[in-house]
């Protein structure tokens, strides 16, 4: 059987510099400037990345095939070309080179609720949205009840959607998209919206579609936990190219390695310090001791080994790690005891163990500081910002998926409750 999706040497070039200027007058100015070999007045400045002349290759020769029934995760850091790839597959924009062969209908959930009109009722919008996604009226008729039931909006289905809450809006839109009779489902991070219960429902629906209906799923996400849950294969994009295609666990490992240069072992001797400081109790390296890559179950501690080189004698120093979320918002700080005692000229090795069980699942970035506190005055001897990338994994079979966006990054120990 032929693969359901074939992507062959796909390239997408975006023009930089002289972008669509929007008026004939400006285009004429550009043309006139080029004629006289002068600098184009409409050139944008400050764009260097992946530049080829005055253009930028968002995708630079991507090839892969997907067989029917596979669930593929597409991961990669921001700007790797994930969205561009999906836009090409969903035909929102055309490729510059290469081709895509699709042997099935596509349900795109890239932007749920596209085409919703606030003036129209939920029911009218189901028809409109379904038709935009390629359903016929008869198809929608036959699925209307399922869609309404899935959306949990039955009571408001004849109310204009402009009066809906954003959650209801998304639920309705997802319900329409999820019920489209398609062979291929394409999902961006649509699961990041709606409440936790609904997200679980969506994920279950996807899993069900993949395992029972043999649907092919292309899932793009930064959430490694859901990728792991949903996908049977993973593609990593980096700078417009496929750098890995295969096993999910391996892909996540490589991806996390790619975003934070070698996360299991980090050589810190040449790393630039915060504010250009000259470290006097210098962190030389860190190494993760209890894992092969920096993904931790929140039930287990993180064990790390630090090498420190002292150029100054310091007593009662401490080590701390500031933990930031992947949006670089500080989440919390974990500090050691005051037992780093070093003598100038000596090298030391310290093992640390951190209990991060209250950290919710997600990706985090750690910053390390060696410091002392004397009468509330803080002296820093070394400080390295945003260097240690790690992920806390959701333990499977938990009560409900954790969504930091709503619930925060801290999962405190269970509260005690007693009936009197």
């Amino acid at each position: 059987m032929k693969p359901i999706i074939e992507v062959k040497n796909l390239k997408k070039r975006y023009r930089l510099g002289v972008i669509g200027t929007g008026s004939l007058a400006q285009d004429l100015k550009s043309y006139w400037a080029r004629l006289r070999k002068k600098e184009d007045p409409n050139t944008m400045i400050g764009q260097e990345n992946r530049k080829v002349g005055d253009s930028f290759m968002a995708l630079n020769g991507v090839s892969f095939t997907v067989n029917k029934g596979e669930t593929i995760g597409v991961i990669g850091s921001n700007g790797a070309g994930k969205s561009t790839l999906l836009k090409l597959i969903t035909r929102v924009t055309g490729p510059t080179e290469g081709e895509i062969i699709l042997r099935g209908r596509i349900a795109s959930m890239l932007e749920v609720g596209t085409g919703f009109n606030g003036e129209m009722t939920g029911r009218e919008n189901i028809y409109m949205n379904g038709a935009i996604l390629g359903m016929t009226k008869a198809e929608i008729d036959s699925k209307l009840d399922d869609i309404i039931a899935f959306s949990e909006c039955a009571d408001f289905i004849d109310t204009p959607v402009k009066r809906y809450s954003s959650g209801m809006y998304v639920k309705l839109a997802f319900a329409v998209a999820a019920h489209l009779d398609s062979e291929i489902m394409i999902m961006d991070e649509v699961l990041a919206v709606g409440d936790a219960k609904f997200q679980k429902k969506c994920l279950d629906k996807m899993l069900d579609a993949a395992t029972n209906d043999g649907k092919t799923i292309l899932y793009v996400s930064h959430n490694m936990a859901t990728v792991k849950q949903l996908c049977s294969r993973c593609i990593i994009l980096n700078e417009g190219k496929v750098i890995f295609d295969g096993d999910v666990d391996k892909a996540i490992e490589i991806y996390l390695g790619a975003i934070g240069s070698d996360t299991i072992f980090g050589d810190l001797s040449d790393t630039p310090r915060f504010d250009g400081m000259k470290p006097t109790v210098k962190l030389m390296s860190y190494q993760i001791m209890n894992k092969d890559f920096s993904v931790f179950d929140n039930k287990e501690p993180i064990r790390m080994r630090f090498k420190i080189k002292a150029e100054q004698t310091v007593e009662n120093a401490m080590l701390r790690m500031i933990i930031k979320s992947s949006e670089l918002v500080p989440v919390g700080t974990i500090t050691s005891e005051k037992n780093i005692n070093v003598v100038a000229g000596q090298e030391y090795t310290y093992d640390v163990e951190m209990d991060l069980s209250s950290l919710a699942s997600g990706k985090y970035i750690g910053s390390f500081t060696v410091f002392t506190v004397n009468e509330k005055i803080v002296d820093e001897y070394d400080s390295i910002t945003d260097i240690f990338f790690f992920e806390i994994e959701e333990t499977i079979n938990e009560d409900a998926p954790w969504h930091s966006r709503w619930l925060g990054h801290n999962k405190f120990p269970d509260m005690t409750i007693t009936q009197i």
Partner: protein, 280 residues
């Protein structure tokens, strides 16, 4: 579903118009038309009454200004019927143009996120314009019948009336074709969106709406006849009220131009549609 296969390539043949796919989305076109009507009249007091009021008021104004003050010839046709017939067919043309001329700009947010055959949008606009036209046309026929029954001068029964269907279809198609060409060009040059209104206005005065072709002679007459809408308006009046002369040769010319522009418009539209998201 087994044989379903779509190939997405960087370059497609220029004649690969995918019109079949548009037909598959006929339910979407229907919904777009419904939405167009719902949205236009949702928060108006008079609602669809505006459709009737609009040409009536314009025709009254034309009768007073061009007929009474300026005293322009109407070829012996009752002035009100003359202006109303010209206005009605012109409004079909101008609403077809203006309804589709900003297709890309107005729908950028949808087009940028989800794929469906882009031609469904202008096609549904065209259908909307035609439905609007028919409401006005019924009124025009009533006015015409009134003049006919009362035996007004310059009004007779035209055996050509069946040709009206061709003329109406041609006008809607030509207007829509001009509209999608404008919408394709405005992706790059926004100027045209502003200019479109002005162009339409000038175009109207180059078409015998407020005057008759018979009053114009010499090179100016040839210029007017080169405007495809001239034969359309002239023959529309002829087929409706049997007044004036039927232009055969120039109408055939106008039909050829319409087909050519429509084809060119669809080709251009399809070409722009593929990558317009990147340049908007």
């Amino acid at each position: 579903m087994e044989n379903y296969e779509v190939v997405i390539r960087s370059k497609t043949k220029w004649y690969d118009l995918n019109l079949k796919e548009v037909l598959k989305y006929k339910d979407l076109i229907k919904l777009f038309v419904q939405r167009n009507f719902a949205l236009i009249y949702k928060q108006t007091v008079l609602g669809p009454l505006w459709l009737v009021l609009n040409p009536l008021v314009t025709s009254v104004v034309f009768t007073v200004v061009f007929g009474q003050f300026a005293g322009l010839s109407t070829n012996g046709m009752p002035q009100f019927l003359f202006y109303m017939s010209g206005n009605t067919i012109w409004m079909l043309f101008s609403s077809s143009v203006s309804g589709t001329s900003s297709t890309f700009l107005n729908n950028a947010h949808i087009f940028g996120k989800v794929y469906f055959p882009r031609l469904t949008v202008p096609v549904s606009q065209m259908i909307t314009s035609v439905i609007n036209f028919f409401i006005q046309f019924v009124m025009l026929v009533v006015v015409y019948a009134g003049f006919l029954v009362t035996g007004a001068e310059g009004v007779s029964f035209s055996p050509y009336f069946l040709l009206l269907a061709v003329i109406i279809a041609q006008t809607a198609l030509f207007g829509t074709a001009i509209g999608i060409i404008i919408s394709s060009v405005t992706i790059k040059y926004r100027d045209l969106a502003v200019a479109a209104g002005l162009i339409l206005q000038m175009w109207m005065y180059l078409t015998p709406i407020v005057y008759t072709l018979e009053t114009v002679s010499g090179p100016l007459r040839t210029l007017l006849l080169l405007n495809p809408m001239t034969a359309v308006v002239n023959n529309f009046r002829y087929c409706l009220a049997g007044n004036g002369t039927f232009l055969t040769g120039w109408w055939i010319y106008s039909l050829i131009v319409t087909v050519a522009v429509a084809f060119g418009g669809v080709v251009l539209y399809n070409k722009m549609e593929k990558n317009f998201v990147d340049s908007i």
